[in-house]
Symmetry: C2
Subunit: 168 residues, 2 copies
Amino acid sequence: MGTPLPRDPIADAQRNWERHGWGDVAAPMAAITAIMRTQQILLARIETVLKPFGLTFARYELLALLSFARSGALPMNKASALLQVHPTSVTNAVDRLEKAALVARSPHPTDGRTTLIELTAEGRTLAKKATAALNAEVFGKSGFGPDDVDHLIRVLGTFRRDAGDFED
Amino acid sequence: MGTPLPRDPIADAQRNWERHGWGDVAAPMAAITAIMRTQQILLARIETVLKPFGLTFARYELLALLSFARSGALPMNKASALLQVHPTSVTNAVDRLEKAALVARSPHPTDGRTTLIELTAEGRTLAKKATAALNAEVFGKSGFGPDDVDHLIRVLGTFRRDAGDFED
DNA sequence: TCCAAACCCTTGGATGTCCTAGTATATTGC
DNA sequence: GCAATATACTAGGACATCCAAGGGTTTGGA
């Protein structure tokens, strides 16, 4: 994965699409492919920064979410909904975070079906440190200009709403 | 993962970042998180369309790449470079595509280290059908306006170049 | 009241991605 | 020409994601 390619493979794909008579969808194809690749790059950067903390992005997201919850605790299904991932992914993340003593499971006081996830003191501390690292080394150096950031937030926000992520 | 949330969780995160004094990186954080989520939505749509063909996105990408190669064959390392994934991911995809008789491995004529991946007739046919389906059901209904598509291609293209994907 | 339907979490299985070797083949440099 | 280095692919392992299913708990309508 090392050396840069001489030419943009996505631009090449777009040209191939046009050459085959699919010019009407070549540009959206390129945009979507670019989003996929950009996500891959960003995820790699994030994971690199989190590795020293013994965290992955999935686990960090859960820690961060809990750290913003007033009580420091959330039901599993709530976390699943807010993180927009399958419940089994939350189970997986909690298993590992619990082994690392960063979160703890506790029964819901009134609903026997529900399990609460609670941040431990170490979990809260680690979340703070990891967030500071991400802010400094990823979000603070995104490479996107302020106007591009605003545009991305707006365009992708509309896309996500249309996709049924939220109603607001 | 079903019901839409009442409010945009990424906008909430952005507000949390600002409230904690990280306003300088709150917007890039939101943009990056939105890219991650958008990729997840798009990937799910793509996989849904490809499922009837017995393909995943990773396998489809490889088929599509081969279908655009003049000779219909590419060395594994070339495919790895163009798809921007780890060589082991290509090995994995080729293993499964080969089992499905959509591609075949063959030795490189002059370099004993290299393995060529070649499309079979069925592979070429399936690639065509899958591409038509994706064009109709995903790329043709991306939900992005033409101006947004152009903007995404440009902004993410710059990002990818700066990240070292290509030099062009 | 009570049983069926709905809901919550977990387990097990399939995929994909990456990393770290390990094996085989080419290239390079002395 | 031969040893050292580089390159190509693969095997094994760690993680994450999703789906399908199963077992326990609640809720709601007959």
